[in-house]
């Protein structure tokens, strides 16, 4: 009558959901900051020189 496997299962669900709750906002913040950083890098990069090869032909 110990039902220990049910106890393990319940605590595993608890741990898994709280782990997700901890990780999810951190990943989201990191993704947003990364996107902002990439956009800033793209905007700061000098414009690529025009390729006039087509005109020269």
């Amino acid at each position: 009558m110990s039902y220990i496997e049910y106890v393990f299962a319940a605590y595993a669900v608890f741990m898994a959901v709280l782990t997700w709750d901890f990780v999810a906002p951190r990943i989201r913040s990191a993704q947003i900051l990364r996107a902002v950083r990439l956009r800033a890098t793209r905007q700061a990069a000098p414009a690529a020189p025009l390729d006039h090869a087509e005109l020269r032909r």
């Binding site: 009558m1 110990s2 039902y3 220990i4 049910y6 106890v7 299962a9 319940a10 605590y11 669900v13 608890f14 959901v17 709280l18 997700w20 709750d21 901890f22 999810a24 906002p25 951190r26 989201r28 913040s29 990191a30 947003i32 900051l33 990364r34 996107a35 902002v36 950083r37 800033a40």
Partner: protein, 253 residues
């Protein structure tokens, strides 16, 4: 101006809130984890097995605090949504919407652990009992708030629409609370009372109290972390976010 009022006004500024959340969210998580660790140790290794339910009663130590949180977080979400709607405070919109996934997580834990406990004790994983059914409706309400907030492109319109759903949904909370009183229910009645004597033996009560406090700290940490992410998302085009993003590793994350 009163220093407390001034502090509240300053906190409403997105960069100030970001600094606040970045500083205090780890404390919420840390204190929550430490407090829950004590509670879990007591629940799993100190408290004796129940004479009828055996070890399965240990599930109560995660099920009950999660169930309380599922209701409390909804009430907090509705309160923030009401403040946001009345005084048009953007930070309250963000906080209200940050509550929804946390509340949904605690509701999932409540339903899952209750179901796991019910299998050996009731002989079934699920029963359309008033308490179980109303708790399931609560989960759908949380998912509705999350879905509505995600479905509308304009963040402020989305927060207002989802906030309204949260405010209306508050009527479900007393129904869940008193479902075991109003209807014949398979779910047990109230055994733990804040005011008055609990029917649980005092030797079994203390880990539960640690868990109740621990989940509150955890909620505070999670709320700040989620609100921070939403705040960054809304402010992604602003200079202060660009400065934060280009800051050396460890400052921005």
């Amino acid at each position: 101006m009163n220093p407390v009022l001034r502090w509240f006004h300053q906190l409403g500024s997105p960069p100030a809130f970001d600094r606040f959340a970045r500083r205090w969210a780890p404390w919420g998580f840390g204190l929550g984890l430490a407090t829950m660790a004590v509670g879990l140790y007591g629940a799993l290794f100190v408290v004796p097995a129940d004479y009828q339910q055996g070890d399965s009663f240990r599930i109560l130590y995660i099920h009950v605090p999660s169930a309380w949180m599922s209701l409390a977080v909804f009430a907090v979400m509705a309160l923030y949504a009401a403040i946001a709607m009345i005084w048009r405070i953007k930070l309250c919109e963000i906080l209200a919407m940050a509550c929804a996934p946390i509340g949904a997580a605690f509701t999932v834990i409540t339903l899952a652990t209750g179901s796991i406990w019910g299998r050996p004790m009731w002989g079934t994983w699920w029963d359309w009992d008033p308490r179980l059914t109303t708790e399931l409706i609560l989960l759908f309400l949380y998912l509705g708030v999350i879905g509505l907030y995600g479905a509308i492109e304009d963040r402020r319109t989305a927060a207002r629409a989802a906030g309204l759903l949260a405010i209306v949904g508050v009527v479900l909370l007393p129904v869940i609370r008193y479902s075991v009183v109003w209807w014949d229910s398979l779910h047990q009645g109230q055994t733990i009372r804040v005011f008055g004597e609990s029917s649980i033996d005092p030797s079994m009560l203390w880990p539960l109290l640690w868990m109740v406090v621990g989940t509150k700290f955890w909620f505070a940490g999670s709320l700040l972390a989620r609100a921070r992410a939403d705040n960054l998302r809304r402010e992604a085009g602003k200079d202060w976010v660009r400065a934060l993003a280009s800051a050396p590793a460890g400052r921005g994350g």
